[in-house]
């Protein structure tokens, strides 16, 4: 037994094993806490049970919101009394999606308040600002909006009410989103009572693009077509002789303008938007296939998006009479849909069947220009087969070439689309005007769009020309 072997160091080395074990746990807790404060605390700070939110504004000036091409959507400035105010230079242009900060918060202002009120400038600069009692500049939010496209969509609306959504199909970036009627976020506090006056039934604050529930009208024939293809294993052979109307029990469905389309295959029925043919398809469809297809195409589902305040679309033929099923097949009946949902469907068609999750907030950038966080495009997966996509492309091209949208001038852009004219009251002469589709320019760039103009009339007369203006602004 040498003395060395039994020295204190040898005998008691377990003490250090334990000391190091505990030290390691302390270090792990430090790392955990640091990560939480740096990035994990978002969900918690946002929670409605957290009442501490406003304290941030004492240290940090709320950051700026930009379009993707650098136009300022919202910024913080000072009024005559040197008081901070939030300024929206384009007034109503982005009001629903960007929201407001007076009178509570909404839109991106609310969802990204946390980021806008965090400063990622140099730490020493922040300490310096704290010492001299100056506020640090908050981070900026870059959205996916394209300024010119948004402006074109907004201005083409004129006096009408409704909504437009335009999405880049291969990324899910929302390029334009308009909802009407609108409001001016600069003066919302002043006109608050008027804006929220329920008796006017205008729902000015509602973002119709994401939360509107509209009858889809003939644009729903896209879904019926897919259901027909799925019921027939992808085979599109179909024959029907249209006499301008079809009677189901004691209910009659008319074709638009009571026009008889004569002998039709599926392509003709689609491009003519033949109600009789589609009512006939609906009546002969397996109900389970119809329901299953609509749910695969995101009806009755939470839409896979990274946007907020999104409404589910609804579809139901369970325990319904034949006449309701026939109406459902042509987009009337009980079905409701949001413009965003229709835009997502055509965006998936444009993207070869793969649906990219739509998003509006692209990246957070510090005052010094460093990217703090950036959103990567995210796929929801494929919702349409290759065969379905190629057939739908053919049909939607026919709509524009020699179908219902034949007379619309889309310029040099290759457009694939579907018009819709949706009845929404007992009075069949007042209809919503729909257009959904996508455009491709000579470089292969694509833009998917959904347009609805409330009470405007034929889709081909109002919604489709508006889409043409948006395409032109985007592809210019």
């Amino acid at each position: 037994m040498t003395k060395n072997k039994y020295s204190k160091k040898n005998i008691r080395k377990e003490i250090y094993v334990i000391a190091i074990f505990f030290a390691a746990i302390f270090v792990a807790m430090i790392v955990y806490l640091a990560r939480y404060v740096q990035s994990g605390s978002r969900d918690f700070i946002y929670n409605s049970y957290n009442s501490r939110f406003s304290v941030f504004a004492d240290d940090v000036t709320r950051g700026t919101i930009y379009t993707s091409d650098g136009h300022i959507i919202a910024k913080t400035t000072y009024n005559e009394d040197k008081k901070e105010i939030r300024k929206y230079p384009d007034e109503r242009l982005f009001c629903h999606s960007v929201g407001y900060v007076d009178k509570g918060m909404s839109g991106l202002e609310a969802e990204y308040s946390f980021d806008l009120l965090k400063s990622h400038i140099d730490l020493s600069e922040q300490i310096n600002n704290t010492l001299v009692g100056k506020k640090s500049p908050g981070d900026s939010l870059y959205t996916t909006f394209d300024y010119d496209t948004q402006k074109a969509a907004y201005e083409s609306f004129g006096m009408f009410e409704g909504a437009v959504v335009a999405i880049e199909p291969d990324t899910g970036k929302v390029i334009a989103m308009v909802s009407k009627p609108d409001f001016d976020p600069n003066t919302i506090a002043e006109y608050w009572d008027d804006i929220t006056d329920d008796s006017k039934k205008k729902s000015v604050l509602l973002n119709r693009a994401t939360a509107g529930a509209y009858p889809p009208g003939s644009t729903f024939k896209i879904v019926t077509t897919v259901a027909f293809l799925r019921a027939n294993n992808g085979d599109d052979s179909f024959e029907y002789n249209c006499k301008g109307k079809i009677a189901i029990d004691d209910y009659t469905i008319h074709c638009s303008g009571n026009k008889s389309h004569g002998n039709e295959d599926l392509l003709k029925a689609f491009s003519n938007s033949c109600n009789s043919a589609y009512a006939y398809i609906g009546l002969n469809l397996d109900k389970d296939v119809f329901t299953d297809t609509s749910e695969k195409l995101l009806f009755n589902q939470d839409l896979p998006t990274r946007l907020y305040n999104v409404k589910k679309s609804s579809f139901s033929i369970e325990n319904q009479s034949d006449s309701v099923i026939a109406q459902t097949a042509i987009g009337q009946g009980e079905t409701t849909v949001s413009p965003l949902h229709m835009c997502m469907l055509v965006s998936a068609i444009a993207n070869g069947g793969e649906l990219m999750k739509p998003y509006l907030a692209d990246k957070i950038v510090s005052e010094e220009g460093d990217i703090v966080s950036e959103v990567k495009p995210e796929s929801y997966g494929s919702i349409l087969s290759e065969n379905e996509v190629s057939l739908l492309n053919k049909y939607m091209e026919a709509v524009v070439m020699d179908g219902t949208a034949e007379k619309v001038d889309f310029g040099d852009i290759n457009v694939f689309g579907k018009t819709g004219t949706a009845e929404y009251t007992k009075n069949k002469s007042i209809t919503h005007s729909w257009f959904v589709g996508y455009g491709v320019d000579e470089n292969g760039d694509k833009l998917a769009i959904a347009v609805i103009m409330e009470g405007a009339g034929y889709g081909s007369k109002y919604a489709a020309p508006l889409a043409a203006k948006v395409f032109n602004a985007y592809f210019d």
Binding site: I11, E14, I18, F26, V27, M29, L33, V37, S41, G133
Partner: protein, 441 residues
């Protein structure tokens, strides 16, 4: 004006705490330093603590406009001076850095509690004075008992009887039976049983140098832990269990036994998880607190709101709303510190707790008496496990177990128990006079 002072103080307080923490890390190696270096370092550290306490007290005085704060500040500084003088009179302290840490933890406690409620702060200050005196007397008593380790079964018996009494007549707090009331005084016996328990296990090990020591220690430990689990005091049960496991490991140096015992503990844990619904709800509150934010997850969510909203630099002392967190003065005091002084300060606090823990093990390593070597290790283990359970529970690192943060949480029992432990550490070189013949080598 006051808001500028508060805002500015976030940086100065951070600077004092940071300097203190860095010196703490350096002093982990104090056994290698010469006396001069060591005393210079610990003097600077003491100055940092004093500046921290003065700075924070000034803010509290300006905001609350209560002259009691200044009175308390003066008394607190005198108390700190007295504690170090007292220790130097009693013995040659094993570690100067430990004294500074004690003073830092107490300062943190005083500042936070005074900020939450001035009366809680005053009460805690009185507890601290009482604890100092009591711990001083108890250490003198221990020193004068001939071969104290031979009384191990007496300690075990007293400890178990106290726990059984709590089990039958203890009052229920937050779902666990913890405390006994005698007249107006309420105390938590398990805090004192911790020290008795250490003396029992260490006594078994050094008295019988064979298998019997292990057997007696194991049976005694099992009885303690089972009673605590039945009283639903899971945090304390875990502390007792870990203390036993690691002390046996240090004494017998056997990894296989450690592994087997951990396995048994794991099986017991899984059984307890399936058996007791209140353990399951703690787990849910831990994995996804926001899903039960209005119920079981309310406390931990409020704690995380506070820490997250406070951010790196904190809202500034008195600028936050820590009172939204239930039992913030006791189990969740760390969240209040983090919210107002900032996550950087609270990370420094974690580092100081880590240093304190390592320093205790340092002293244990250098202790010349095998019985006190084990007791000191036990103190180190109890301190570390309890700090980790508390801080880890507050930041959602682990499920919350409802134990106090040593020296910082409000409450007398925990403070007194920690003070006794602290005095034992500092006096450890003088403790073994009565028991010669037990020296190593």
């Amino acid at each position: 004006m006051i808001s500028v002072v508060i805002s500015f103080s976030r940086i100065t307080i951070l600077a004092f705490v940071l300097a203190f923490t860095i010196l703490d890390l350096i002093q982990l190696f104090e056994f290698k330093f010469s006396d001069t270096v060591s005393s210079v370092l610990s003097t600077i550290q003491a100055v940092m603590v004093t500046l921290f306490l003065i700075n924070a007290s000034i803010i509290l005085y300006l905001v609350k406009e209560d002259s009691k704060i200044i009175g308390l500040l003066v008394l607190q500084l005198i108390l700190f001076l007295l504690i170090s003088v007292l220790l130097n009179r009693l013995t040659e302290p094993s570690s100067r850095a430990l004294i500074n840490n004690l003073i830092f933890f107490l300062s943190l406690s005083f500042v936070t509690l005074e900020r939450l409620n001035i009366n809680t702060g005053i009460k805690q200050f009185v507890f601290t004075i009482v604890s100092t005196v009591m711990a001083f007397l108890i250490v003198i008593l221990i020193r004068n008992v001939w071969k104290i380790q031979r009384n191990m079964f007496v300690f075990a018996a007293i400890g178990i009887i106290l726990l059984v009494i709590v089990y039958f007549v203890g009052s229920v707090e937050y779902g666990a039976k913890l405390s006994l009331s005698i007249g107006a005084i309420r105390f938590q016996p398990s805090e004192f049983v911790k020290i008795l328990y250490l003396f029992f296990i260490s006594g078994c090990i050094v008295t019988y140098k064979d298998f019997r020591g292990f057997l007696f220690a194991s049976v005694g430990a099992a009885i303690h832990v089972i009673i605590l689990v039945l009283s639903r005091d899971l945090g304390t049960a875990l502390i007792f269990l870990m203390t036993y496991l690691l002390l046996i490991f240090i004494a017998y140096k056997n990894y296989i036994v450690l592994g087997l015992e951990l396995l048994v503990a794991l099986v017991g844990g899984i059984y307890a998880y399936n058996r007791f619904p209140h353990i399951q709800s703690r787990f849910i509150a831990w994995t996804d607190p926001l899903s039960v934010v209005d119920d079981k997850g309310y406390q931990i969510s409020q704690s995380l709101f506070a820490i997250g909203t406070g951010g790196w630099f904190g809202s500034g002392l008195t600028n936050g709303v820590p009172t939204k967190i239930p039992v913030v003065a006791n189990d969740f005091i760390f969240a209040a510190i983090s919210e107002e002084l900032g996550a950087l300060v609270s990370i420094c606090v974690i580092i100081c707790f880590m240093c304190f823990s390592v320093m205790i093990f340092n002293v244990a390593f250098n202790c010349n008496d095998s019985f006190y070597m084990l007791v000191l290790n036990g103190i180190g283990i109890i301190f570390s496990v309890q700090s980790i359970l508390n801080i880890g529970g507050v930041i959602k690192f682990i499920p919350s177990t409802g134990v106090t943060l040593p020296f910082v949480s409000a409450g007398g029992s925990s403070l007194l128990s920690m003070f006794i432990s602290f005095f034992i550490i500092e006096c450890s070189n003088d403790m073994y006079f009565v028991g010669k013949g037990r020296r190593y080598d």
